[in-house]
């Protein structure tokens, strides 16, 4: 039954993709794709709930095999849950122009490639799906951006970084296949060199694809320049599929990893979480800012995985399963609110024409539905109760508290540091989204285009409202997912069915009670406050005149933090003033927070690469004589090698 639904869903996406080639059937094709995605989502979550395996099981042999189990089901569920609203959004967001139709087809291809990775049950299919999920978005960006030179350069960076780093995925999967360990049929010895090699290359390869720092450079470049629905799929689903790969290799197949590796994963997660959110604070473009937040949230997910690895190595299996469930729950939650925010940004861009954060303002009044949905998404990503982001961050904090509980001094202190990093990350996310909400939704419109902005057509609004309701629902009853997620750990562990989060032996998060109390109290307080007969008055501002020129900007609002973190961030700023006859005529200010990892790590590597290329080019002079010399040299070396017994 589930298999049938899944097959029908994927078939509908394929047929819908083909249909959207024709201008007349364009919207019908996208609607069909959306329906198919809905089917995939239901089938996926059903497979997660029933924990039953469908189709083939995993094999290390190089024969195509397809199947679904609980973990695949979860990620298929996420895929459908995000793809359906993104496709409904596309119906009116994309135009049936040649470019729009091409993007429509490619979206179907992208969803199918992601599903291929999740349904693959052998190394060849897995790697094929993995590569196509990297390549299809690159094509989408190139198609939608046309002859934009900057976009081409970004796509090149994206492909270069993900392929260089992605080599790690190949190494990990092929090593596992060679050892016959795919699907856990043979157990890899703990602490062996093979285990370490697999774990490190998986962290490198799949970490690059997930956008983990310091391998993230492609993500804030590539995600923002795709069309909004594709950005939503990339940030919401594609990086989650990379997490799926990481969970498969590190938790399912690679045996019990040593403690130091778990600590390494914790460190990488903490760096991504803090780094992502700090650089997001200083971004001025809404979509780039959201992309930086994806790095932060992947960091939070990786913290959960790291906690799970450490706890498993210390023998605390129950809490290792809870930590894994925390990471997976955050995968679902982040997919929902990040897709909501990217689609919301798409709606704003469509209405206003720009996403420069200092040139928006007051959109909540102009676009109450889209703006309201965006506000819900902002509160969810900031990790505020009673929404879904808080539930999974609460779980991750609980998991991290238990790392020192079961650990020794080294990993225990690492867990405590990760705990502090996650708490600071949550507060920084609140800071960042107060800034976003304030500059985008509140206050007075800052340009005439913003003042004239209008609500988008119904399908766009419906997609946003659906995702906002999903944020509320997942915040209200995270326990429904939590039970099955705990059951996904390959060692057996179970918790009872519940709505809130009640963990044995520690505090609990009664989400229902908190949500009811907060809403009830707000309503009660409004009633007590009584009929609001407020005088309307100009903003007092302590006697200052409020005028647009004095509006606060993104840079102004974050200045306090920039100054405090000056010694780490090393911000650059330049002020030049022009005076004529002692009267100040003009002041020019420019400020920038450089990305340290790019400047200190990637620039030198890039420079070294170019220098090496110059030398390498000398070898290829183009003259036949030189090549003959190379050939003779090679033959001599080979003959010598044979003579010395190094070959054959």
């Amino acid at each position: 039954m589930t298999g049938l639904l899944l097959g029908a869903g994927l078939g509908a996406i394929a047929i819908g993709g083909v249909l959207s080639v024709w201008g007349k059937a364009f919207s019908a094709g996208l609607w069909l794709q959306a329906t198919g995605a809905g089917g995939v989502s239901v089938a996926g979550f059903w497979a997660l709930g029933s924990q039953a395996a469908l189709g083939d099981t995993f094999t290390s042999s190089f024969v195509p095999r397809f199947g679904v189990d609980g973990l695949s089901g979860l990620f298929l569920g996420i895929l459908g849950l995000i793809a359906a609203p993104a496709l409904v959004f596309s119906v009116r967001y994309l135009r049936p122009s040649p470019t729009g139709r091409a993007v429509g087809v490619l979206t179907a291809l992208f969803v199918l490639a992601l599903a291929l990775v999740l349904c693959a049950r052998d190394p060849v299919t897995f790697l094929a799906g993995w590569e196509s999920m990297t390549l299809v978005p690159a094509v989408v960006i190139l198609v939608s951006r046309g002859a934009d030179r900057r976009a081409r350069k970004i796509v090149f960076t994206y492909l270069a970084v993900t392929h260089l780093g992605g080599a790690g995925t190949w190494v990990a999967i092929l090593l596992l296949a060679h050892a016959g360990a795919i699907g856990g049929h043979t157990t890899i010895a703990s602490g062996s060199g093979l285990q370490t090699a697999i774990a490190l290359s998986a962290l490198l390869g799949m970490g690059t694809k997930a956008g983990v720092m310091p391998l993230h450079v492609w993500l804030p470049r590539a995600h923002p320049i795709a069309p909004a629905p594709v950005s939503a799929l990339m940030s919401g689903v594609m990086i989650k599929v990379a997490i799926y790969g990481l969970v498969r290799v590190l938790i399912d197949w690679d045996g019990v990893l040593p403690v130091w590796f778990g600590v390494l994963v914790l460190a990488v997660g903490a760096l991504s979480a803090l780094g992502g959110v700090v650089y997001a604070l200083f971004e001025h473009d809404l979509k780039r800012l959201l992309a930086m937040h994806s790095i932060e949230n992947v960091g939070i997910i990786v913290l959960g995985i790291g906690a799970s690895l450490v706890l498993r190595a210390r023998g605390a299996d129950t809490w290792a399963a809870f930590a894994l469930a925390a990471a997976l729950l955050h995968c679902v939650n982040h997919a929902v609110f990040k897709a909501l925010l990217f689609l919301g940004a798409g709606a704003f861009e469509r209405a206003v024409g720009s996403l420069e954060i200092d040139r928006l303002g007051g959109l909540l009044r102009r676009m109450p539905w889209s703006g309201g949905a965006f506000l819900v998404g902002a509160m969810a990503i900031a990790g505020l109760p009673p929404l879904n982001g808080f539930a999974s961050e609460w779980l991750t904090l609980q998991a991290l508290i238990h790392v020192p509980r079961y650990g020794h001094i080294g990993d225990g202190v690492a867990g405590a540091l990760a705990l502090a990093a996650l708490a600071a990350t949550a507060a920084l996310a609140v800071f960042c989204f107060v800034k976003v909400v304030g500059l985008v939704l509140l206050g007075a419109p800052r340009t005439p285009a913003v003042a004239a902005a209008e609500e988008p057509p119904i399908p766009l609004r419906a997609a946003l409202i659906f995702l906002a309701l999903a944020c509320v629902a997942l915040g209200f009853a995270p326990g429904i997912l939590f039970g099955p997620l705990v059951g996904l750990a390959p060692w057996s562990s179970k918790v009872g069915t519940q709505l809130g989060l009640h963990l044995p032996g520690t505090g609990s998060l009664p989400t229902v009670g908190i949500a009811v109390a907060l809403v009830g109290l707000t309503v009660a307080l409004a009633l007590v406050r009584g009929n609001r007969r407020a005088a309307s008055a100009p903003t007092w501002a302590s006697g200052q005149i409020v005028e647009p020129a004095l509006n606060w900007t993104s840079a102004g609002f974050t200045k306090s933090l920039r100054l405090v973190l000056e010694f780490v961030l090393r911000p650059e700023r330049e002020i030049s003033s022009k005076a004529e006859g002692g009267v100040l005529q003009e002041v020019v200010y420019s400020g920038n927070v450089p990305h340290l990892i790019e400047d200190r790590l990637y620039r030198p590597v890039e420079r070294l690469g170019f220098r090496a290329a110059v030398h390498a080019r000398r070898l290829q002079s183009g003259s036949v004589g030189t090549y003959v010399v190379y050939l003779i040299g090679l033959v001599i070396v080979l003959l010598l090698a044979v003579r010395l017994g190094a070959i054959g």
């Binding site: 506000l375 609460w394 904090l397 507060a427 909400v437 520690t506 505090g507 998060l509 008055a537």
Partner: protein, 298 residues
Amino acid sequence: MQVVGGIALAPLLPGLVQHWKARLQGRRGPTPLQPYRELRRLWGKSMVDPEGTGPVYRLAPLVVTAAIVAGVLVVPVSQAVPNLGLGHDALVLVGLLALAHFAITCASWDVSNGFSLMGASRDLMLSVFVEATFVVSLAVVALIADTTDLRGVVAGTAGVDAWANPALALGAVGFAFVAIAETGRQPVDNPDTHLELTMIHEGPLLEYAGRDLAYLQWAAAARHWLVLVLAAQVFLPHARGVWLQLAVLPLALVVLCAALAIVETLLAKMRVLLVPRLLAVGLAAALLGIAAWIAGAP
């Protein structure tokens, strides 16, 4: 007891601090009941909607107050209190305080008052360091009590035995900085200031009037209740029995208010950019507390 105490007695705490502070400085000062008079006065006044503000500005005082009331229900006054459906989890309290910060700082964007935004920016910057210190110091006591349920924590840190390991003392040092920052007291913030340029917590309230302002001032007073009850029943030595805990609590709160008054009298307000260093000291102490707990764990 908890509800009545938290909601009705909360304004008494900042009143007491102000009263003693004045006494220490050789002034007669207002009576401890002054906050109640101010709330009554504000309740009778009309509210103001600055031009161009929307639903976020109107909802913010309600959301802030609702979050703080929920916080009052979460923080238990003793190791056995009835569960009102919200549970008593320590990390939930952190989330509720973050919600209050979010609501009021968003409101200051809605009015676009530069002074409000300056306060909001500083408040959020400080809360990064406060939240990290808060969570880690809560983790210290959670490890000692082996639960994050605050009722269990109150029971687990009671008596003398818990103090055998330096972990609790180090956690208490961390929490002391959180208490000062979260209540907006010197040397972090000056609750008496009338100079908008120096405001942190007061800044975002500048445009409010009437019942809105009354709610917000009550919420500021109730933050005193939250952190001082936590300090008395968790981070400082307290009795084991439920009734003894309840009996000693008023006394402990009075002593803590006096302590805040002394700190305010002795220390001047710091430069706001130096406060994170102060909080980093608290964070380091709390982290050391976790290390000490691991080292001393059975």
